[in-house]
């Protein structure tokens, strides 16, 4: 049971990684002069869209939480709207945090916001898919020993590693190397992406190694 779960998790994560790789290579067939550094914003949008799409597809295919008994249309619509609002809120709050961290307030607003969108895609979208727009569940998952399944455990790991990746991504900005990727917010977006991918790779492995110790209340 557990091993098959871990396998499913691994496949899901591989699909996510694959979507990020695709977002790097596919646009160059359709767009001229596409490169990650020069047309950074375009890549950011494409990457966010790809990752969101893959997450949604995985959610629809896998349906990890089968508890939604009420399936009336109005319920679904309000749920969708709520998800949408949550996502926007998370984008704005990330934006606020970036500005508090020293991102320029009036210049490069679009760049900062797209970084916020990307980070939200890596963190909030999986949360919304897995937990739904339920703040209580979020609080539970992100508190100590709050995870009740390997999915939630991997959610913790990917979220934290994305955020830490973004945090570490800010380090090279003051260096005077004059490289194009040192510009705001490229290093941070790259950090976030690497962090996310690292989280995706690490979490199945980590869960596999610790599968003996991991016991969930519900299992």
């Amino acid at each position: 049971m557990k091993d098959t779960d871990i396998k499913r998790l691994l496949y899901a994560h591989l699909v996510c990684i694959f979507s990020i790789i695709l977002s790097i290579f596919i646009p160059s067939f359709f767009l001229e002069n596409f490169s990650i550094l020069e047309t950074h914003l375009t890549w950011l949008c494409i990457c966010s869209v790809f990752v969101t799409a893959v997450n949604l597809i995985l959610y629809l295919v896998g349906k990890p939480n089968t508890s939604s008994k009420r399936s009336s249309l109005s319920y679904k619509v309000t749920r969708l709207l709520k998800c949408y609002i949550y996502f926007l809120m998370s984008c704005f709050s990330f934006h606020v945090i970036f500005v508090l961290y020293g991102a320029p307030l009036t210049e490069l607003v679009l760049e900062t916001f797209s970084l916020a969108v990307l980070l939200s895609t890596f963190t909030t979208v999986p949360c919304l898919c897995l937990l739904g727009p339920n703040f209580k569940a979020w609080l539970r998952v992100f508190s100590r020993n709050g995870a009740t399944s390997i999915w939630e455990n991997s959610l913790q790991i990917t979220t934290i590693s994305s955020i830490v990746g973004t945090w570490l991504g800010a380090f090279p900005i003051p260096l005077d190397w004059g490289r194009p990727w040192q510009e705001w917010p490229i290093s941070c977006t790259l950090g976030a992406t690497f962090g996310y991918v690292a989280g995706l790779v690490i979490s199945p492995l980590w869960i596999y190694w610790n599968r003996k110790e991991l016991t969930y209340k519900n299992n």
Partner: protein, 982 residues
């Protein structure tokens, strides 16, 4: 001997200060005096080389110019003359540069771009050591060989008007002088009028050979309002007028005497975009150098991009121009265009003289000088020169002579350039012995501190200092013997280059005793720790100690900061590191706050609370908190929810909001002063406020800030000091109004600006009064042990006295820094530290981090440029060294000092009696860790390209910071003593 950990830490830091001072003495060696020079005074000039044939040119060539006028304009940047500003405001100079008989260059000043070392460089042609910055304020007599001393020895009459520094450097060299003091930065008209008023008289008299004018006004304007201020234009026009006056007078004289004169327009350093100077940005380094003389040919066409030369080249050129020997320590090469119009033989003669001087300097400094490419080139050229002279004397055809001569000239110029370059590289000599000894002392102290961490942070806060036993141990005597032997060997082999060797033997012996005592103490502490470690491993009692993410962050942050000091960019942008760390700290605190507020409730089914949350569940604040919370959820070491009482209602929301308030404050302050290097040119609020158009806004802001300061400070003061505080803050505003920084609402017109002596002294009286009351209360609490209220009150009064002093010394646009620092302290104390019950060590490190961040919020950086020396002259009539240095240091380090004294206040109100000594120990450790690491880094990077521009200023800052830390630790210990007694 048993010592409290606070007293122990204070002792350690004091010893460390000694070690760092020794290191600094070795790192910044005093300029090397060549022992041979005094004897060489009468050395004859090098004769013209001539192979075989006898040349009659063995004396120095005659002077090229009969009179030289040097107009030195302090802070004149190259684009003020050669750029658009020059065209607009200096029409006469522009005409001379473009069409007149002149040669223009861009002279590069070497950092430190501060006046005194630059004057030395201009007049001696040598590269002054970095330590000259420190002596900048108090310049001792220049003993080195210089153009001035050579000219005086040759009987030339020199007249000087301008900056007093010159008079101090060359005390008996001028036949007539009038020095102006440069310390009142706010005055930019009188300093220059003082120079110009002599001009008419002296130009008419004509009984001098050299006239030096040093104008300070431009630099003062830069310090006040930056290089884009409208005042700059006026000043440049004024300077243009001065130049025209001097030039026309020289021309009219030439018409009578028919001997050409030379007019030199130069600058000591440039001006950064922020208006200061001292560092090595292109704006500070590039200065114009225009030589004007009717001996030069007229040019045609537009020359907008002059050649880059070194500032040190002027000394050699002036010497040649005056027919004097070149100063011996000069590393500059002759500005060749000056002699270009002369016959070939004379040109070669001048070049030969210069190369001979440089190669002599090279011989004295470099043991393997024969392998130097410059020296080889020199030898080849000299031989060729001899051949050329023979041909010349044999009167060969002029065409052959000319072709050979121009080839030779090119070779000489190459040799000059190479020699000059290798000499500049050779000038940096380190006194490695003193550096090593200093490093050893610092490292031993750090090891001792690190080894005594477990003991010092135990609940007793006391530790055994093994002092007596090592002194009588065999190891001590052995080490002492070895060290003394080493000392003797080093000193006998290296000569008098080392500072330690020049010390008297008791002092050097004292250092040796100190090192060996420390070594023995470290050894015994190590042995003790090992024994304890063995004991602990036998009883695996508590292997997983309680460690939270906050501790992890603090540890990682400290280590990360130390590691970042290895990169020059991270030193230049150190403020970013601290802002980043402080922000992350706030988010980590936010996470702790969240956990204590939510998770305590989350365990039980509390529907009422969730009902309160759900509708507003998606507010940005909460969402953001969630995001912030997860930032540092790194490890899953189990830690139960801390036993914290959950506040209710309004206070709960305040607790939740407080980290965000702090973050907002930090963000506001960050945009107040842009510092560093890469983004320093960005517009910031500080510049907007200080520009003359926004005086009204600045006044309102300053007034509001002062009111806020009063509101924040007065709540814990005694009534008497409350009144004193109010009057003092009022006095601060009056002082700023008197010196013209802010306006009174009832007088809109610009009244004449005074120096505000009375107002500032009025405030000083209140500062001293408040400090005195505080000290009295502290003494009272020491006498009456039960009176802990008096103690708290006294500490707070000392603190508020310091706040008042800082309010007086800060520039008005920096007053919000003070307000927000008080606000952040209040918020964190009430809503975070008290409720969450952090331990003393955590709180200390947080205070240290915030102190560092506020150091940079004030607008400080790691370059000398940003030190606000005007703070040292608040309320002083004349320059007094000790008060000025103290005030400047306090104003610069106000952030860390205020946070440290707040730490004392906060911890002394805690019930835990050992908190204060824990805090003292932690503070000492956290401060000395970066210094020790940095000393090692600098030693290993001492041949780095940026060693003088980036690493050395930071080293000075670190040393100064350690000194401040030592003072703070001693204060802590004094407070701690009263605590243990009570």
């Amino acid at each position: 001997m048993r010592l409290g950990s606070g007293a122990f830490a204070a002792c350690c830091v004091v010893i460390e200060v000694l070690g760092v001072a020794l290191f600094l003495r070795g790192f910044f060696p005093a300029p090397i005096c060549f022992s041979s020079r005094t004897e060489n005074e009468a050395e004859p000039p090098a004769p013209e080389p001539s192979s075989g044939a006898s040349s009659n040119w063995t004396k120095l060539p005659p002077p090229l110019f009969s009179k030289i006028v040097i107009v030195l304009i302090d802070g004149l940047r190259d684009d003020f003359v050669f750029g658009s500003k020059g065209v607009k405001f200096m029409p006469y100079t522009t005409y001379l540069v473009e069409k007149g008989p002149s040669h223009s260059f861009v002279a590069e000043a070497k950092p430190p771009t501060v006046t005194m070392p630059r004057i030395k460089a201009l007049m001696t042609g040598s590269l002054p050591g970095f330590i000259d910055v420190v002596r900048n304020l108090n310049s001792p007599t220049l003993l080195e060989d210089s153009v001035i001393s050579r000219a005086r020895a040759a009987g030339k009459r020199i007249v000087f008007y301008g900056d007093e520094t010159w008079v101090k450097l060359f005390p008996k060299h001028f036949v007539e002088y009038d020095g102006t003091t440069s310390f009142f930065v706010s005055d930019y008209t009188e300093v220059d009028d003082n120079v110009t008023r002599h001009l008419d008289k002296v130009l008419k008299r004509r009984d001098w050979d050299m006239l030096i004018l040093h104008y300070l006004g431009l630099d003062h304007i830069g310090h006040i309002s930056g290089p884009s201020s409208p005042l700059i234009g006026h000043k440049l026009s004024e300077m243009d007028g001065v130049l025209m006056k001097v030039h026309t007078s020289l021309l009219s004289e030439e018409r009578e005497t028919l001997v050409p004169n030379l007019l030199v327009l130069c600058a000591d350093h440039g001006m950064a975009e922020t208006g200061g100077h001292g560092a090595s940005s292109p704006e500070e380094v590039n200065t114009p150098l225009v030589l004007i003389s009717s001996a030069f040919g007229r040019k045609h066409g537009d020359i907008r991009h002059p050649k880059h030369v070194q500032q040190t080249d002027l000394a050699a050129t002036l010497s040649i121009g005056l027919g004097l020997p070149i100063p011996e320590n000069s590393v500059g090469s002759l500005l060749f265009p000056v002699v270009e119009g002369k016959p070939m033989r004379e040109q070669l003669r001048f070049l030969h003289l210069n190369t001979v001087q440089l190669s002599k300097l090279l011989q004295e400094n470099v043991p393997s000088y024969k392998k130097d490419p410059g020296f080889e080139q020199f030898k080849v050229s000299e031989r060729l020169h001899g051949n050329w002279i023979r041909l010349y004397l044999e009167e060969s055809s002029s065409e052959v002579l000319f072709n050979l001569g121009s080839k030779l000239r090119r070779q000489y110029l190459d040799a000059l350039r190479t020699l000059s370059l290798s000499l500049s590289r050779q000038m940096a000599q380190y006194d490695v012995y003193s550096m090593v000894v200093g490093t050893v002392v610092v490292l031993e102290v750090l090891t001792l501190l690190l080894l005594s961490v477990p003991q010092a942070l135990s609940s007793k806060a006391e530790l055994d200092v093994p002092l007596l036993s090592p002194v009588f141990s065999l190891l001590f005597y052995l080490v002492l013997l070895v060290l003394s032997a080493l000392h003797v060997i080093v000193c006998t082999s290296a000569g008098s280059q080392c500072y330690l060797c020049s010390l008297s033997w008791p002092a050097a012996g004292g250092v040796m005793v100190l090192i060996s005592t420390l070594l023995c103490a470290v050894t015994s502490a190590l042995a003790k720790t090992l024994a304890r470690g063995k004991l602990l491993s036998q009883t695996p009692a508590r292997s997983s100690s309680r460690r939270s993410e906050l501790d992890l962050l603090i540890l990682l942050g400290t280590v990360g900061h130390v590691l970042s000091l290895g990169a020059s960019s991270f030193i230049e942008e150190e403020h970013q590191t601290w802002y980043f760390l402080v922000n992350t700290l706030c988010l980590a605190l936010c996470r702790e706050v969240c956990r204590s507020c939510f998770l305590g409730d989350d365990c039980g089914p509390q529907h009422g609370l969730h009902a309160e949350e759900e509708p507003e569940g998606a507010t940005p604040a909460l969402q953001a908190k969630r995001a912030g919370c997860s930032v540092l959820e790194l490890d899953t070491v189990s830690k139960g929810p801390s036993p914290v009482e959950v506040p209710s209602g309004c206070e709960r929301w305040m607790v939740l909001a407080s980290p965000w308030l702090v973050l907002t404050c930090c963000r506001l302050l960050r945009s107040l002063n842009q510092t560093g290097v890469q983004w320093a040119h960005r517009p910031d609020l500080g510049h907007w406020l200080t520009s003359s158009d926004h005086k009204a806004e600045l006044s309102v802001l300053a007034a509001l800030s002062l009111i806020m300061i009063f509101a924040l400070v007065q709540r814990r003061c005694s009534p008497a000091s409350k009144v004193a505080m109010a009057f003092g803050l009022l006095g601060v505003y009056c002082y700023r109004a008197a010196i013209g920084n802010v306006l009174f609402p009832w007088q809109q017109d610009n009244k004449d600006i005074s120096k505000g002596i009375t107002e500032a002294r009025f405030v000083y009286v209140f500062v001293l009064g408040i400090l005195f009351t505080g000290t009295k209360d502290l003494l009272k609490s020491q006498v009456i042990p039960t009176d802990s209220a008096a103690r708290t009150l006294g500490l707070w009064e000392v603190y508020s006295g310091l706040v008042l002093l800082a309010a007086l010394l800060f520039r008005p646009h920096n007053l919000p820094v003070l307000v927000l620092s008080l606000l952040v302290q209040a918020i964190l104390t009430t809503f975070v530290w008290r409720p969450l019950r952090h331990d003393a060590a955590e709180i200390t490190v947080m205070h240290y981090w915030f102190g560092q961040a506020f150091f940079y919020f004030q607008g400080n950086s790691n370059s000398i440029t940003t030190v606000d020396i005007s703070a040292g002259f608040v309320g002083l009539d004349t320059y007094m060294e000790i008060p000025a240095v103290f005030l400047t240091a306090f104003a610069t380090y106000a952030g860390p000092v205020l946070w440290a004294s707040h730490l004392v206040n906060f911890l002394s109100s805690e019930t835990n009696s050992s908190a204060l000594s824990h805090a003292c120990f932690c503070y000492a450790l956290v401060c000395s860790f970066p210094v020790s690491a940095y000393i090692i880094l600098v030693t290993s990077l001492r041949y780095h390209l940026f060693i003088w521009s980036v690493f050395s200023p930071k080293l000075l800052y670190e040393g100064m910071h350690l000194l401040v830390t030592a003072a703070v630790c001693v204060f802590f210990t004094a407070m701690d003593r009263t605590n243990t007694k009570s």
